[in-house]
């Protein structure tokens, strides 16, 4: 990113830090967390400990970071090197990202930027100008992306509440600031679990590793009565709803299972895993030393804010997470696909000088699809 663009973004981020500091959530037990930040075009500073939100504010204003992070873990000594921090416990975190959902719409709104010659096109394999295969992909997520991610979030929350007995007050949902959602779980029985144990929770939530026997299909002398009932709780219940469709279909479906046999039933379970398992990023949930984007901070991949969704159904990130002004700015934009922000359509732009509202300009500059004129 060039100097001029960095200056432009820094000014806007700084303004946001001044005017919207109330949106920042410095997290409970701030002094036991590890903080970190990044500045534009430079590396990560981490192992930072902050006493309270005053210190956080100071850090933001002094450094004008492009991104701010905070650990889900609590440490005795958060500012020491990793092996001396003394890990105490960690909140349970889930990451749901539209890019992991295999959505067909993605093709339409991902643009490629050639790392060699900066050519921008919708060709994601090979640069049409210099044939380089080093292509940096930028996605401008659409409504389908958001709606599908929300659906996964709802599935996740349902499991957390009914299977894991986590109360809704202890679950917080955030828009990630780019293509998905982060779900935080506080004060649960899982706080002190290590990564191996968290990996088991991941498989549970993703419905991975299910055995035919446990879902009704015995290897020897299969028996209709061991298949789950439509009204059962947990995964047996969810699986039966997926497999039977309706209560009245139970008997017919089971006959089908019995006649097609054990290994076909395993395939059905695998299929169910794809369909009804929750598509979370396993590595994020397992990681107990990671620092995550801080709620309330701006995601420099988009200029949008990672903010909390009080009402997931109604939440519209491209309006509700967009906090920059409407003031017009001049940029040179090169963006072959159109996008929507604050209910206005923008693009496509073909290397042209345009005058657009600041919030849209920030979005394009953050995605490297425009520079300040």
């Amino acid at each position: 990113m060039n100097e001029k663009d960095i200056k432009f973004l820094e000014n806007i981020f700084k303004k946001y830090y001044f005017e919207h500091f109330d949106l920042f959530q410095s997290q409970e037990r701030t002094n036991q967390r590890e903080f970190g930040y990044q500045k534009f075009n430079s590396g990560m500073s981490r192992h930072i400990s902050l006493k309270d939100s005053k210190e956080l504010r100071l850090m933001l204003i002094q450094n004008v970071p492009s991104d701010v992070y905070c650990s889900n873990a609590y440490y005795s000594f958060p500012s020491l090197p990793m092996n001396e921090k003394e890990w105490l416990e960690a909140d349970l975190i889930f990451d749901i990202d539209a890019k992991d959902l295999d959505l067909p719409c993605r093709e339409k709104h991902v643009v490629g930027i050639c790392s060699q010659c900066n050519e921008i096109s919708q060709n994601k394999q090979k640069c049409s100008k210099c044939s380089s295969t080093k292509i940096d992909k930028k996605s401008l997520p659409c409504q389908i992306c958001i709606d599908s991610s929300k659906k996964e979030v709802s599935k996740l929350v349902e499991i957390l509440v009914s299977d894991f007995a986590i109360s809704r007050e202890n679950i917080q949902i955030f828009f990630s600031g780019n293509e998905g959602f982060h779900v935080y779980v506080f004060n649960s029985q899982f706080q002190n679990l290590g990564s191996r144990e968290r990996s088991e929770l991941v498989d549970y939530i993703m419905f991975k590793g299910a055995l035919p026997e446990k879902f009704g299909m015995k290897k020897f002398k299969p028996d209709r009565n061991s298949f789950p009932d439509f009204s059962e709780g947990g995964w047996r219940g969810r699986f039966s709803k997926f497999a039977y469709g309706s209560k009245s279909n139970r008997s017919k479906t089971i006959s089908g299972f019995l006649s097609s046999g054990y290994s076909n039933f395993q395939n059905t379970l695998d299929e169910a895993s794809n369909q009804i398992g929750v598509k979370i990023d396993p590595n994020v949930t397992m990681d107990i030393h990671r620092i995550f984007r801080l709620p309330g901070s701006i995601n420099s991949k988009s200029g949008l804010v990672k903010n909390q969704c009080e009402n997931l159904d109604k939440f519209q990130p491209y309006t509700d997470s967009c906090f920059h002004s409407d003031e017009l700015v001049e940029i040179i934009a090169n963006c072959p696909v159109e996008f929507k922000l604050k209910n206005k359509k923008f693009g496509p732009y073909n290397n042209q000088k345009i005058s657009i509202p600041t919030f849209a300009a920030v979005y394009l500059v953050c995605k490297n699809l425009a520079t300040v004129a």
Partner: protein, 342 residues
């Protein structure tokens, strides 16, 4: 500690304080060596170890017959306590491990029976308490099931490889996992074994007692049958060789040992992909987790802190050092084998 009745001590002899038990019964170890009647119990103790060494579970004399039981109970406890004395005197680690495992299996049977006991509430309470006190798992009975919190369940179930132990294959409801009495007890098998093993290792080794020598010698030769000779080549330092051997045998290497091994090999330029297979035999192997942990140590994941191999001094305090003369004058395993300039 739990307060135990005679009956319970016989079932779970590892819960008793050995010295205290002998004193309460008015015996000394010397008497077992000299009194011909009591000496029978040393033979019993030896047999108890032998059975365990062969991978079987010692069949006790415990029966439901009250009269027989009165005399059988103390014998049962004595043979266990004497077995430990013999094992300590012969210093045969492989036998100790096998013995601990077999005794765990034996106790498991009683625990399961007690847990499932519907007519005697106090027996059930004891089993629940043993599980809670030793392994901090809160077991509760709901109708015909035993339920434990998901987090307690996972901490133990991750030691199993079989898919049926995965959380997804369990009845989970309301933050709890539903198990049968058999499964509940099975869940702690490994820990029960390690608990007994630790208890034996931590007990003091007495000096040789007249009358015990014969059986101690027999144990020493028995133990030779079970220890295998391992040849390791290459110029790894002894601590690293040892750690690799432990893993190759499929035994459990403590966290500190894994840390040492991984950081050592990473410093020697091996990649995470090269190191992961080393851990394949570990009882708790999970490829995704091992890769994550190694990446974490290598500093290639989120934290970007690269961990370095601990010093010899640190490893000594962790009982991971197995220094030989070749280790002279080095302060880190990484220096091992580098020729010194004289």
């Amino acid at each position: 500690m739990l307060s135990l009745g005679q009956d319970e001590i016989a079932k779970y002899p590892f819960l008793a304080d050995a010295g205290q038990y002998l004193r309460d019964k008015g015996f000394s170890l010397e008497q077992f060596g000299s009194d011909p009647d009591l000496k029978q119990l040393i033979i019993k103790a030896y047999e108890r170890i032998e059975v365990a060494a062969n991978g079987q579970i010692y069949k006790s004399d415990l029966s439901e017959d009250q009269v027989l039981k009165q005399s059988a109970l103390p014998r049962e406890v004595f043979s266990f306590l004497l077995a430990i004395v013999l094992l300590k005197l012969s210093n045969a680690h492989t036998l100790i491990k096998r013995f601990a495992l077999a005794e765990a299996r034996r106790a498991e049977k009683y625990l399961e029976r007690d847990l499932g006991n519907i007519s005697d509430e106090s027996k059930k309470q004891l089993a629940v308490k043993v599980i809670n006190d030793l392994f901090s798992i809160q077991v509760e009975k709901i109708e015909d099931n035993f339920v434990i919190p998901i987090s307690d369940y996972i901490k133990h179930s991750i030691n199993f490889h079989e898919r049926e132990w995965k959380l997804i294959n369990r009845h989970v409801e309301n933050g709890l996992v539903f198990l049968s009495s058999h499964e509940t007890v099975r869940l702690i098998r490994k820990e029960l074994g390690s608990y007994i093993n630790l208890k034996i290792n931590n007990s003091k080794t007495p000096s040789m007692i007249p009358g015990f020598e014969e059986y101690v010698e027999k144990l020493v030769s028995l133990s030779k049958k079970f220890s295998s000779v391992i040849v390791t080549t290459g110029e790894y330092p002894p601590c690293i060789k040892h750690a690799i051997e432990v893993l190759e045998k499929g035994e459990n290497l403590p966290h500190s040992g894994r840390f040492m091994l991984a950081t050592y090999l990473l410093s020697k330029g091996q990649t995470v992909e090269q190191i992961v297979p080393l851990f394949k035999n570990a009882p708790d192997y999970n490829e995704r987790v091992t890769t994550y942990q190694l990446n974490h140590l290598a500093g290639t994941s989120g934290s970007s802190t690269k961990y370095s191999c601990p010093s010899c001094e640190k490893l000594r305090t962790q009982s991971l050092c197995f220094a030989t003369s070749e280790c002279e004058n080095i302060i880190s395993p990484l220096q091992f084998g580098k020729r010194r300039i004289s």
